[in-house]
Symmetry: C2
Subunit: 216 residues, 2 copies
């Protein structure tokens, strides 16, 4: 009953992410996210249950203590890899996701620690998502989507929930990156765009995009 660790890590990572929007994660949602067929996922879930990494409850799965720990470790490695790529190797924030997806399965705990130490224990990835510490503890900030701000509200961008390089390039070109202060000038009615002011410039931003930008 040997197993491909990378594959398991991939599953746990997906389950972890999906758990934040759907508590017991459904097989079909997981299959969709992993771009696999439901039966493949169904089969792998059995193995994960057997390994004590997930529990099957009411038509779905949720991570066990151990599965959660493992998932967070992968996320830590992913985000630290992204930081290595941007801060040390000069990648742009839109170029790091795919590379980090491969690195997260290749780096050791030792390397994970060295990256963290070399970068002064960064608290977030380049997109602003928190990096769990060695014990899996996240620093959680109270944030809300930019799309929920009212006219004349201000906020500081904490994170950007986006992986598409094109969109990330666009956001960076507007200066919509973590730690930047945004002011909502106007909110168009009927789900229309927001007019935001970022470092002196004014832009119209669709609700869809604005909902992915978390501010505090």
């Amino acid at each position: 009953m040997e197993a491909d660790t990378s594959r398991i890590e991939e599953y746990l990572e997906s389950i972890y992410k999906l758990q934040q929007e759907q508590h017991p994660v459904s097989t079909s949602r997981l299959a969709e996210h992993l771009k696999l067929s439901p039966p493949s996922v169904s089969e792998m879930i059995k193995k994960l249950v057997h390994k004590g990494l997930v529990n099957q409850i009411e038509k779905g799965v949720c991570l066990t203590e151990e599965g959660n720990k493992m998932a967070k470790k992968v996320i830590r490695r992913h985000r630290l890899s992204e930081r290595l790529l941007t801060d040390i190797l000069g990648f742009k924030w839109d170029e790091v996701h795919d590379e980090a997806c491969r690195l997260e399965h290749a780096i050791s705990t030792e390397m994970e620690d060295r990256i963290a130490a070399s970068l002064g224990n960064p608290r977030t990835c380049p997109h602003g998502h928190p990096i769990p510490d060695k014990d899996g503890v996240f620093i959680k900030e109270i944030v809300k989507p930019l799309s929920e701000l009212k006219a004349m509200d201000k906020g500081i961008i904490v994170s950007v929930f986006e992986e598409d390089p094109k969109m990330l390039q666009y956001l960076a070109s507007l200066g919509l990156i973590p730690d930047v202060c945004v002011k909502v000038e106007e909110v168009a009615p009927f789900g229309g765009p927001l007019i935001v002011c970022v470092s002196g410039s004014r832009y119209a931003l669709g609700r869809e995009v604005a909902s992915k930008i978390k501010v505090k």
Copy 2:
């Protein structure tokens, strides 16, 4: 006829290394090096032939033009990874081999280039082995094993052919690392040790070890 790229890279890398000591590489030697059974290797060779990466000649295999190129690319990624680990992340030279064995299959050409650029295009790995450039060109130095020096000969260490962490730690503790000048004080007869002088200190060094240290 899909394939596991990492596995293929592993085979090509081994064939490349073994070719330097045995020209058509034998199946058994390759199996031994990869820690696999001869039939497994035999089978995989067929696939590599089919893919045009190796040719089967007189009871052995040798890399094709394309296989050679691919092998050198993996070696470049391995050695650049090692440099990243030592020069940027603070690993010691005895800690990088295994980590690099995993990284070499995970990093993209883009990352390979960024590591090279960030380090000012290093010409060698931490053990002194040349890093092929993007076109697969190696800078080859004329070297000879330290064990072949005569009494009172001097040399500058170019590379150390060793992967065992314990041995590498030992050598580093004596200061036997690339770019260091060594003087052979005495050569004991009947295959006995060499008495070498490194940065003011005198050490006895077995022939076996000395043969792995290449000097110019």
